[in-house]
Symmetry: D2
């Protein structure tokens, strides 16, 4: 977590204070369940629920840390601190449970909370992409393959594609969230030897989690590997969007530009020096999110019923990947919200090749008129080359090529240059993407 790439909302999920709050909930809910099935006195459970603080402060954290320096055990330190609020009934707290029951279930809750923030981020990004897609539904621009002009599209159509991609990302995250939202309170080796499975069921329900059907000491790490993989895919989609903006803002292309505030200076005296730093930054952030995927997968093969090798990895990647992805999604939304689009420049670039982007249509028409594909190609190419090499206008050249006009009338030729030909299905595609 680097402060400059961190939003407080997500960082708060990973504070000790939030962790202790969740631990508290798990312990209190477990006591309620134990009371319900007669394992501990109802009055004690009520007392515990009443006295256990529902909010933890940095002061609490300091005290718990102080205790941990002696006990060298985080959960025990927490329980000791909790006991100062609860008094004698604290002996009923954590009964038959194992540290991992608390730690892993808490981790699930945190990842679920993180997912909710990320889903909200995605919703905002989707809303923005949709708004701007409709705004530029008919803004003509050249489609490019291999960085080379191909045929016309609209800028809205490009954005509709990103919308659909992030909609898929959202669905994947919903699936991953469901996968990770699991609760295990099953004791030292998952046998429920010292704890009744009904405790697990109760706590799971209270926390909005599913029960883990079979755990070892821990919640199996394939769930986490899958979760971080999905974050990596979302980050890669952000990279695609950011790469597009970087290209559009290039000096020679200049079809769009990240917003620059009035007073903001570029990096030098040159007024054109408005750098696409947000989108470049997003590309870097994507690499950061992605780097958590392989370690998360390496964490799966723990030894026997568990080892602790995954722990340090998760302490690092869980905050880093979620905080960075949250920041990136919010930045991407803001970048797209404020993106300055230059339709005139789009048109200028579109016109750059003198109508050559219609060459395929002429070719098709010639073949429909009975000219062989080989001959058609030659006819088109010889006119296209004049455009390409001598800067002529394609339609003009075609009109004055008698072999062409033998087959195609001037009127037909002109129709071939109707831009509407390329955009006629935009409404249809928008319906597919946005109407469901």
């Amino acid at each position: 977590m680097i402060p400059r790439y961190t939003r407080k909302e997500m960082a708060d999920i990973w504070t000790p204070e939030n962790r202790f709050k969740i631990w508290r909930d798990i312990e209190v809910f477990a006591c309620e369940a134990m009371a319900e099935i007669g394992m501990i006195p109802k009055a004690s459970a009520e007392n515990i629920a009443k006295n256990a603080p529902t909010h933890f402060t940095p002061e609490d954290t300091a005290k718990i840390d102080e205790i941990e320096r002696t006990t060298k055990h985080d959960v025990i330190a927490f329980l000791t601190h909790l006991a100062t609020f609860i008094g004698e009934d604290s002996r009923f707290v954590h009964q038959g449970m194992t540290s991992s029951d608390v730690l892993d279930t808490c981790f699930s809750v945190q990842l679920k909370q993180a997912s909710e923030l990320l889903l909200a981020d995605l919703d905002k990004l989707l809303e923005t992409l949709k708004k701007r897609a409709f705004e530029h539904k008919n803004t003509l621009t050249i489609g490019r393959s291999h960085g080379i002009h191909a045929e016309p599209v609209t800028f809205g159509l490009k954005l509709a594609g990103y919308y659909a991609e992030f909609e898929r990302c959202k669905q994947r995250l919903l699936t991953a969230k469901k996968d990770i939202s699991t609760c295990a309170i099953s004791g030292a080796v998952g046998t429920f030897a010292n704890i009744n499975p009904r405790v697990e069921e109760y706590v799971a329900k209270k926390l909005g989690l599913e029960i883990e059907p079979v755990s070892t000491q821990i919640i199996p790490r394939d769930r986490h590997a899958y979760y971080f993989s999905v974050l990596g895919v979302i980050a890669s989609s952000i990279e695609r969007l950011a790469t597009e903006v970087r290209h559009l803002q290039r000096t020679e292309v200049y079809e769009a530009e990240e917003f620059f505030s009035e007073g903001q200076k570029g990096s030098s005296a040159m007024p054109h020096k408005r750098n696409p730093v947000l989108s470049e930054n997003l590309c870097g952030l994507a690499r950061i999110v992605r780097m958590s995927v392989i370690p998360a997968m390496e964490n799966v093969a723990l030894w026997h019923e568990r080892d602790i090798s995954h722990s340090s990895v998760e302490r690092m990647i869980a905050p880093d990947a979620t905080v960075t992805l949250d920041f990136a999604l919010v930045r991407a939304q803001s970048m797209m919200e404020k993106l300055i689009v230059y339709p005139q420049n789009m048109q200028k670039n579109l016109d750059k090749l003198g109508g050559l982007s219609n060459s395929q249509r002429i070719l098709l028409l010639l073949t429909q008129k009975g000219v062989s594909r080989e001959d058609s190609y030659k006819l088109v190419q010889r006119n296209a080359m004049k455009v390409w090499l001598e800067g002529k206008d394609f339609l003009t050249e075609l009109k004055s090529d008698s072999e062409v006009t033998d087959k195609i009338t001037h009127k037909e030729l002109e129709e071939m240059f109707d831009i509407a030909y390329h955009t006629k299905q935009v409404d249809f595609i928008f319906d597919r993407v946005f109407v469901k």
Copy 2:
């Protein structure tokens, strides 16, 4: 694809012959659709469907390769070869389509076919794990955390955990298969300028694919990134299973062993030299499958409407990752099917610590009898140390410690050593995992 780690069933999906068969289907279905909407004559479409070969041979491939050496374009080479069967009507084939329409839709079909094989593999592995889990439902063995003895579990319970994990893997693969099963026939920049969207809908339906709501020139690569991520997660779960077997076969543990055929020789003169080579191999194969995840994610951010950088990556990772995972799943199934389990050795290891695995129960009982947690711990520990250091029997020691027997009767102590205490919820857990 390394022959020794390749099954023909999966390799066949990636042959040129299967690719050409799928290309043929796409082209023929597209013609049918075009005929239906009146773009080409019905008779021509029928003629095309009738004459286009439904099966391609290595000889076809050789001919197509020969043509490609001239045209330097794979799809054109294919169409040229196809034309030799179809004759004049071949001019209607591929009309208004773009190579990527064929290539990407074909790739979807191949990944869908691969998924089906992998799902069948998973089903067989699940079946085996289930069978062996029930077989060893009550086979006692020590649970281990950090490689150190913890508390008893059953071997069946371990296997139930793997069953649940691979069941999750199956669900993830079903999701990934659905995600990748998409068809795009939308032309050079995805605008349907030269092709009616109803063609795409028709072909998609025929191939059992969904339509791609909005494509550029290509099917967006976030779908593929997600797909390969899921393969990576499954591989990691295989690694966990394989690591368990490797541990169990260690000379000092020797609780289970990969099957050795009668005549098979170990790697040296030593008869005990039965090496867990299958499970070790599976760990390596997991690394191979996983290595495709990051490149697949790097493939997402193609430039503008597409570039071709993803192509070489996919030519490599698509066969390699699916073939290797298929091989690994089949090997894992066979390994688990034939795994030789040694319940006596499990019991011997379980007994190794003279009953110490029950120390926690004694501790809990003492606290229930009113002894403070600190004093209880000391009482338990001083007896445990004799077991640990001097090889004494834990129950015997406890019985002769008067401070213990002041609080707990001999009968109560004996009950604390009842192994059934640890296994009492095994049925319950099995119900959770296997009954739904």
Copy 3:
């Protein structure tokens, strides 16, 4: 290994025939050493050297494979086949050795051979980069940061940078080659229990390898991890070069272009459709080479004196990474050799901003003339904005701004637009890079 991205020279290193040739050398050299120290008869060693074939054919491979199907052991199958040439003395072959002695030492030889090819590739690429750097030493072009015009450089200077980068890559590969060029013939657990260390020394010397100071059963895998990491770094440098070419060939930039043969067609009817497919392909190949790095690192932590999990990984990544990198280096060399450079377009782009790239110089001059930095900035910016927004010429505007001309004469202003200012150190930098 995908045939289309494979050169025979590198693929040959990984054939069974080359492997058998190296195995043969190891075994024969070991016999020579054993004879020298009196362990086996000199005549037998001579006989073995004389009769062991120095060249293996696919027929040999087929026979050895046939034997392996029975023995299920590759080295034993090889030795059995070898014995058919050697006769009775074959009992002296492989004495006291372990399969890994042969396999790992052979792998070192293969990686050394691969390094030699890659070094030759790098040398050719360096030569080409040098030639083209000198050719375009003074070809002016705009330098870009963030994809935005910054200040002028020369195209030769860009190429000099790539030269220096690949020179570093070469040094790293030399180091990695030295690191991997190691020989271990130390027996089943590396103790030389059954073999004299002098055999190892002799064989190492004969093969041009260093001895492995201490091996387990195998050559430690940190050497290989390092090796593949270096390949990954080289691949990343190729990606940088290829990305530059892709940018330069964009329609709007069009400063350079990959070579297109006369008859070659672009991907459609449009003559401008010359796609930078070589450089795009190189970006994909870079991802492929890089993906071997993490598995190679995961291979390091083998269990105890060895396990076999690394084997499948190496069977895959060793050919794939070396073949792909070799192909990529050769393709990069050819791409750069034939790259069509358009100096006029470079100049056109350079002129695009009406001289704005000199704005920093004006700014500096104003401050030197005593104007505060803030005021200088404002003066420059108000003139620059007219250029930027209204397409005016920067020098003309400055000359007609009296607040500017109060401080700077027309002559001084003109000097500020002298392009030679930017190129004055090019010779110096070339000396640094190319003269040593």
Copy 4:
């Protein structure tokens, strides 16, 4: 950087205060150089050197951060703060330089400083491994391949192997340190348009760096990719060492154990619950260090003369990878220093197979006595099986097998069981590793 895995020494390198100190040095040295070549007054340079603070405090950082909130530019904020100490001469500071000149050269200094700490860590680890290797030079233990008993080695020999591996790691880090120790002060696009190259040379020398022969705006990132790769290789070697310790501490193996302080409690009531948590943690830390390798490689292909996508990645991975590796090396050293070794348990495990580890020797002797390899194998195996299956003693069985004793005398057989046979080359290997 997670506090619990962070040593202050390394974290200090990455504080703003250290960064500002290095920036200050670069700026002051640059002024000295400019004075020397007559670009600025000597007195001014002296004044700058005298007044620029040589130490920065958190208060300075707060002030600079405050300024940055306005300027939105870190280097300008720093220079503004610096000016408050220097006064009017501050206008000579940073003249003709670019932010990247300062940022990238500073990054080189920080990575060099980090390398020095890591090299010191490696030296201490090497010293410890050497000491313990000699301590256990003759401590017999079983060598294991595939986790299965193979032939005897000594524990010292194992440690000598790790020593040699970390010695290689040290050499690699020295190379990487040299590679990264480079200084660029070449202006906005690396042309030295506004700055004399002699400034770069002077500053480089003062900082103990090499000059960057040709830079763009930045120091090329292949250097950093290589650096982080080497860290990844070192981390992988740590993982191998840690994995060995984890295996040795397993309950069933128990040949060594991480140190437990007197008062320390295991994780439960069970006194045997001494978990190898340090070595497990080291395996996790290795994954963390390794995850920086791919992003560092993805950072290489920046666009044209630079983009800023690498920046966020480096802000994250540079502290994380160096801090984590430093912590891991120190922890590994301490773990090995205090490792409790149980030679009796090693012997007990060695004896476990009743002498079977000598079976290969018997086999060899029989063949030397003229028995065919096949018959020898059968003779050995039938006796070995009795040991393996019935727990008999191998030597006893051999002595009572007349077909064996027909060929080999009792005395010869006994000699085959002489453990010294396996250890006879230990001195020789130690000489190779430790004497140079």
